[in-house]
């Protein structure tokens, strides 16, 4: 059984006991425990079920590479799935639950899959679920969705806060092990600004566990001294619990700081995302031990040798009373020695190598009385929910059992892989180190920055240096080299510390144990624990032709789980290389992508949630709208009133009332959001002639013209009224949503194509409040305000003038988007509210009412006016909308003209704008398609039109709509069928799109 040892535990505070629960069961731990160490201390070896076969799984590692011990933590707004027990610090009251099992962890129905495993090979889903098509939707997909995924998605809103933090430094060091600390010291002493990130709460990495002496002191003392030195340096910032998550272009690095995961009730943000700009990045990210590929290597109780050592030394936890060690290297002997020193039994060390003579560590193990079996390995592990023993075989053979050894834990080590992720994120290349059987950074091909030079340097184990003395020397040299490149001078007193050297025999790569393992053994040999990928799966993929590592990865899902293959990738690559009879470096690696380890969505979002998700733009009249029943509609980043709802009416009632009142009396619209671009200069007319399809240069000062703007593809992108202010100045109104993009569009053409034209542009949108005064009483209302002559003779339709109304300095445009007598009046933004108030007073006896955007839409639809974004969708040209009258035939060129001559644009079968009138007066569903005859080649019904705008018109008391229909204008009076998504079918007749006042008499009074 796994249990807590009576003594030891360098990271524990045994005077601070904590209680926590796992699957509802109360357990005890200490401050300093991880959830994983505390579970092991409570003999909880079985911690989860695997993804595909629901096999029982236990803790394998002691760090972020953990594939199995994924937990659901917390409740409600603090629920978090897929948390690794190995990186979760224990706190009092922690609630954890295991994942991916039903009905319980101990008894799981899905485990039947493991007996079906020979029917669930690599690519099973691709092979099985292709046909027949309907089964996918109704049978396969619901089942797969139910059984897929590990943790549950949280349902409640996140109760915590998150923030972003910007930081700048000369040298960023990722990793606070001995390499990172020595690098920080050397860089810091040169005067560079240094930030050091350490993912765990502890400095020094795993060096204290592995032991040794630095400069005559114990590793632990050296770490304490170095930390004290660094803390005294103003130019050095140390952050623990902060992981270097990703390295991006030009020295941008994300750090992920877990501020309150271990003290959830403390105030402040839970996570902080560090957005760091570094002159140079040193990756001192260490190395990860590899599992060995033998049958049953996933049985709970089989762990990495380094993890076993960590649990014993750091947490005083014994993973088992009797631990068999299986290895291909010297380093793992440290585990056997640590276990022995803790008073635990190590019945045997199975060493796959055959060494000519005992190395220092082998001799040490033997001296402790441990039986060392050279050239031998594990044939298979016995036990299902817990290791009960191992069957020993010759590594060189096919798995014939030589003897069986009873044990309750197996510590395995297949060698070490440098953590090259951060080096690789931005393009650093790798090289295969044959002696150490690992990929390490190819320092001749680093990721490059803006100056074309490398900006990442690996140090220590991350660079492929595994001996303590080498690690420290490498880190020191790397940091001094980096500091020198950045223009700093290494300090005179700086020197590389000297560590005691330990003689180690070379490791020997073992990719399959035993070497000639039978299919039966390979089918129980797991490469990727989290995605249940076995040696046999990778070999099958190779056999079926998936010879590229990227294809084999996707076909087998090797390395595609939440651990991104930290344990499995190298073993998987080696297996693929073996199956292809190729060298490992020629097979290559898959791509390393950030983040290194999953980070919270909350940290990515930071403050950008709720009210601060994006800026809200408010017009000068916003507060009045708010106070007068406005129901808001977002338009771009603006908030506009959709309707003003009075007590006792629904939103729909309000819209109907607003339409009727505006048609019969007087309506006011806050039109301040319309884009107002001032275009000025000797070439302004010529410039606008290129931008609009119409001729603008012939417009006379004092006049207005409706214009259409297309992009170079010929598609309609914006419309609006252009007013000529004087000989050299135009005011271009754009749509609300288009103001910024159209301004950018115009600037782009001016700056990059016609840069020698004398034109200057200003976006004056927010400088003015603009009010549309609309309805038969509009003129009367303005006359009551008084100050200027607004008679038909003085200010005709499509004219504008400056003047004074009721004491306000105004610019009055006589334009109409409603078909009614209408004035759009601009005042300085600061006067907007006062002017609006004055209009309400003057209009009081004339039936004045404000109206919102939905009323605006109905008014324009009744008149057959198009709306950008309803009638257009980026594929519609003005000719489709019957707007040929607004396209100049005199101009040689305008943006979009050449494109509109392309054959598809000239196609007589393009859908064209018509009005649609339901035969029973109902309202057509928005976006509904009109059915044509027959079916297309895919067996789908042919469609021949669609609804682009549809409303209930209170003026006509019936549904009205506009739509684009095949040969529509030639088919007046024909009835089309529109199936709705509500199961009903609608019938509508093709009519003229102008439903109201077709002669335009009302706007011209």
């Amino acid at each position: 059984m796994s249990t807590r040892l009576a003594t030891g535990g360098r990271l524990l505070n045994k005077s601070a006991p904590l209680s926590f629960s796992f699957n509802g069961k109360q357990m005890r731990g200490y401050e300093g425990d991880t959830l994983a160490s505390a579970l092991l201390a409570n003999d909880q070896v079985l911690v989860g079920r695997s993804f595909k076969y629901h096999r029982p799984r236990g803790i394998v590692t002691s760090g972020p590479e953990e594939p199995n011990a994924l937990m659901n933590l917390g409740q409600e707004g603090r629920f978090e799935p897929n948390a690794r027990a190995t990186t979760t610090e224990l706190f009092d009251g922690l609630e954890a639950a295991s994942q991916n099992h039903w009905p319980s962890l101990e008894f799981d129905v899905g485990a039947i899959n493991k007996h079906l495993s020979r029917f669930l090979p690599a690519g099973f889903y691709y092979k099985m679920f292709m046909h027949p098509r309907p089964l996918w939707k109704h049978v396969y997909e619901p089942i797969i969705r139910h059984s897929a995924g590990l943790g549950k998605a949280p349902k409640a809103a996140d109760a915590d806060n998150y923030e972003h933090f910007y930081a700048f430094c000369d040298v960023l060091i990722v990793g606070g092990g001995v390499a990172g600390l020595q690098a920080a010291l050397a860089a810091g002493q040169s005067g560079a600004r240094v930030i050091v990130l350490e993912q765990s709460p502890h400095w020094g990495g795993r060096a204290p566990v592995d032991g040794g002496r630095i400069d005559g002191a114990s590793v632990e003392d050296w770490i304490a001294q170095t930390l004290a030195q660094l803390r005294g340096m103003e130019n050095v910032t140390l952050r623990e619990r902060t992981m270097g998550a990703g390295v991006y272009d030009h020295g941008y690095v994300l750090g992920y700081e877990r501020l309150r995961d271990h003290t959830p009730d403390a105030p402040g943000p839970r996570h902080c995302l560090w957005r760091i700009r570094a002159g140079h990045v040193i990756t001192a990210t260490g190395a990860i031990e590899r599992p060995l590929s033998f049958a049953g290597n996933d049985v709970p109780g089989v762990m990495l040798a380094s993890a076993v050592r960590d649990y014993v030394t750091n947490y005083a936890v014994s993973p088992g009373d009797r631990t068999v060690l299986v290895t291909n290297n010297d380093n793992a002997y440290l585990t056997a020695i640590a276990l022995k020193h803790a008073g635990l039994d190590v019945p045997a060390i199975l060493d796959a190598r055959v060494l000519p003579q005992d190395s220092q560590l082998v001799a040490q193990a033997k001296a402790l009385g441990i039986r060392v079996l050279m050239g031998q390995g594990v044939s298979s592990v016995q036990g299902s929910k817990r290791v009960t023993g191992v069957a020993v075989c010759s590594q060189a053979g096919e798995g014939a059992v030589l003897e069986e050894i009873a044990c309750d834990a197996v510590a395995m080590s297949g060698g070490w892989s440098p953590v090259v992720h951060l080096w690789s994120h931005c393009g650093g290349k790798l090289t295969w180190d044959k002696a150490r059987a690992c990929f390490r950074p190819d320092q001749d091909h680093p990721p490059t920055g803006a100056d074309g030079l490398g900006f990442v340097t690996p140090a220590g184990a991350a660079a492929g240096m595994f001996a303590l003395d080498d690690v420290l020397h490498d880190a020191h040299a790397a940091a001094e080299g980096v500091a020198t490149t950045l223009g700093f001078k290494p300090a005179r007193e700086a020197r590389s510390p000297v560590a005691e050297r330990r003689e180690e025999a070379p490791m020997s790569p073992v990719w399959q144990m035993p070497q000639g393992a039978s299919v039966k053994l390979r089918e129980k040999t797991f490469l990727d624990y989290q995605n249940d990928v076995k040696v046999s799966d990778v070999r099958l993929a190779a056999q079926e032709g998936f010879v590229s590592v990227e294809h084999a990865k996707r076909y087998t899902t090797l390395g595609m789980a939440t651990d991104q293959g930290k344990l499995s990738n190298i073993n998987g690559l080696a297996t693929l290389a073996g199956a292809l009879d190729a060298e490992i470096p020629s097979v290559g690696t898959t791509t390393f992508r950030p983040p290194y380890h999953p980070i919270s969505m909350g940290a990515i979002a930071g403050d950008a949630r709720g009210d601060t998700f994006q800026p809200i733009r408010r017009t000068p009249l916003c507060e009045w709208h708010e106070a007068n029943g406005a129901v808001w509609e977002p338009v771009g980043q603006w908030r506009r009133p959709y309707a003003y709802v009075q007590s006792g009416e629904s939103t729909h009632d309000a819209v109907m009332r607003e339409v009727t009142n505006t048609r019969q009396n007087l309506g006011l619209l806050d039109a301040s959001t319309l884009g107002k671009l001032i275009v000025r200069g000797p070439d302004a007319g010529r410039f606008l002639d290129m931008l609009y399809t119409n001729m603008m240069s012939t417009l006379k000062p004092g006049k207005c013209r409706y214009g259409l703007m297309c992009n170079e593809n010929g598609f309609l992108i914006d419309d609006g009224v252009v007013a000529r202010l004087d000989e050299q100045t135009f005011l271009c109104h754009t749509t609300t949503g288009g103001a910024d993009s159209i301004h950018a569009h115009m600037e782009e053409w001016l700056q990059t194509e016609w840069w020698d034209w004398k034109v200057h542009m200003v976006n004056a949108t927010e400088h003015y409040a603009q009010v549309a005064v609309v309805g038969p009483n509009a003129r009367k209302c303005l006359e009551k305000l008084g100050g200027m002559d607004l008679s038909r003779e003085a200010l005709g339709f499509m004219e504008w003038t400056d003047g004074e109304l009721g004491g306000f300095k105004v610019r009055v445009f006589r334009i109409s988007f409603s078909g009614e007598l209408s004035y759009e009046i601009a005042v300085e933004a600061g006067q907007g509210q006062a002017f609006w108030d004055a209009l309400l007073v003057a209009g009081h006896s004339l039936g004045v009412m404000p109206y919102g955007t939905e009323c605006l839409h109905i008014l324009r639809a009744e008149k057959g006016f198009i709306m950008i974004g309803d009638e257009t969708d980026g594929t519609v040209i003005p000719q489709d909308l019957g707007l040929n009258w607004a396209i100049s035939k005199k101009k040689d060129d305008y943006l979009g003209k050449r494109a509109q001559q392309r054959s598809h644009m000239q196609d007589p079968n393009r859908w064209k704008l018509v009005g649609l009138e339901t035969t029973d007066g109902s309202t057509l569903p928005d976006g509904a398609y009109a059915l044509g005859r027959g079916e297309n080649e895919n067996g789908q019904k042919v469609v021949e039109g669609r609804v682009t705008s549809t409303y209930h018109s209170p003026t006509l008391d019936r549904g009205i709509a506009m739509g684009l229909v095949l040969n529509g204008p030639d088919r007046m009076g024909e009835v089309l069928t529109f199936p709705g998504t509500d199961g009903k079918t609608y019938e509508a007749m093709i009519v003229d799109p102008v439903f109201y006042d077709p002669k335009g008499e009302k706007q011209n009074v």
């Binding site: 272009d249 030009h250 393009g427 100056d451 600037e747 990059t752 840069w755 040689d892 003209k897």
Partner: protein, 111 residues
């Protein structure tokens, strides 16, 4: 995230302060251009793994468009220059050729 320096206002800023505008030095084809020429102008773009001359706008800064010579594979920035030109200036060509001696601007003859 790239760091770029605007050649108009000389501010050095992060990529998010800029807006990428695709390939530089396109020649506009208007009415009168053949179908082939127009298709090439509207749709065909270089997509090199290596030196790319491209358009950027300092959108959250001075608002000006400029051109950038950049290696799409190494992210090496050879320099930024005015958008108001039809060909890369000599100092940009030299900076590129220092790294890529065989690189030639369209139609440029080997010397």
């Amino acid at each position: 995230m790239l760091i770029l320096t605007c050649p108009c206002c000389h501010v050095t800023a992060e990529e998010t302060e800029f807006h990428a505008g695709g390939e530089a030095h396109l020649t506009r084809i208007g009415p009168g251009g053949s179908e082939g020429e127009f298709e090439s102008y509207l749709f065909m773009r270089q997509n090199p793994k290596g030196v790319h001359l491209e358009r950027w706008r300092h959108v959250y800064g001075c608002g000006k468009w400029f051109h950038l010579a950049r290696d799409t594979a190494t992210l090496h920035v050879y320099g930024a220059y005015s958008a108001q030109t039809t060909a890369p200036p000599d100092h940009i060509r030299t900076a590129i050729k220092d790294r890529h001696p065989d690189w030639r601007w369209q139609g440029e003859v080997n010397q």
